[in-house]
Symmetry: C3
């Protein structure tokens, strides 16, 4: 019997960086008794994104951050939208270069992620923010 | 009662830039009496993408364009696929760097977007094009 | 009558490059008698991604590769996560810059892709790998 469930994850960030919320997503699926279906996530922001990335070696996250900081430098004089500071426009661009959407099949109650994949919110602003991720489940 | 609906949005572009079609998407959902479910969009092109981005300050769009123009310069001599002009291969790369897919939960008849998120088609070619975005709805 | 189907595509890569698996996806939909619905794909890796791109001129793939190789150079001294070689961290970054997720509407048994769109797995590592792509179908 197919059915839907809706939720919103709240993630309090401490500034720029990756925040793993795989466990929160798995807990919600368990509480809703989701067995086989599809989980869709949407970050409701234009300066934070979603990412499936390596959850083993923390150096990967350090290097991801280093690369994006070099690619989209804070305070670049190319930008005119600087009302909220040097990291404002870079945060929008980093969000456009990654994604705000993920859709993950669920089988036997488990997220069908790869062995090394964790679900991250990527905060692109330097200051702490309260982030919201809409969740939709459709399945059995 | 779960059901599906299909549609294709037509967007006539006037060349490179962002085209907001949030209102068109909302109108279609209303016409189909979609209440709670999931809207999936797919740009059926390799030189135009979809983007959820800031709909308040137009400077954000100007800066997004400025950044991508610098990152993927038209006429870059790295490229050999130039049959359709200087902007041909950059349009493919800009599409690969962003996305052609969006999935947005719908609750109480409303798209669960963030306050500042609008749905845009990003035309990456310099000349006007007729773009098509496939839409799929599943829900109540 | 709405129903679900699950699958996992196996793609054996010969190292970095694009691997078209559109025909495999279409074959699976036909075998499952999928008519109208939504196909969702997820690459279960952090160093390979999914891409809808031009399937006509092979120069497009050559230029995509050339651009990403210049943008994210193998052996860049910025990176400290180099345990698996010079292409290890660049593979993670190329994956983050593109996507591991695709959702494609299906109508009348056919994928609603554009004329020039093929479904590719993009292998970002230099050596051959066995890649897995989770597939979920929901529809009639």
């Amino acid at each position: 019997m197919l059915r839907q469930a809706f939720h919103e994850f709240r993630i309090a960030t401490r500034g720029r960086g990756l925040y793993d919320f795989t466990a929160q997503a798995a807990s919600w699926l368990a509480a809703e008794r989701c067995r086989n279906g599809l989980l869709t996530l949407l970050a409701r922001h234009t300066s934070a994104s979603l990412l499936l990335q390596e959850n083993a070696d923390p150096d990967v996250q350090r290097d991801l951050e280093a690369f994006f900081t070099r690619l989209v430098p804070d305070g670049d004089r190319l930008f005119i939208h600087t009302a909220e500071g040097d990291d404002d426009m870079p945060a929008h661009i980093r969000t456009a270069l990654t994604t705000v959407n993920l859709s993950i099949p669920v089988s036997g109650g488990a997220l069908m992620l790869g062995t090394w994949q964790g679900i991250y919110l990527w905060e692109h602003r330097q200051t702490p923010h309260a982030r919201r991720v809409a969740a939709h489940y459709l399945g059995e």
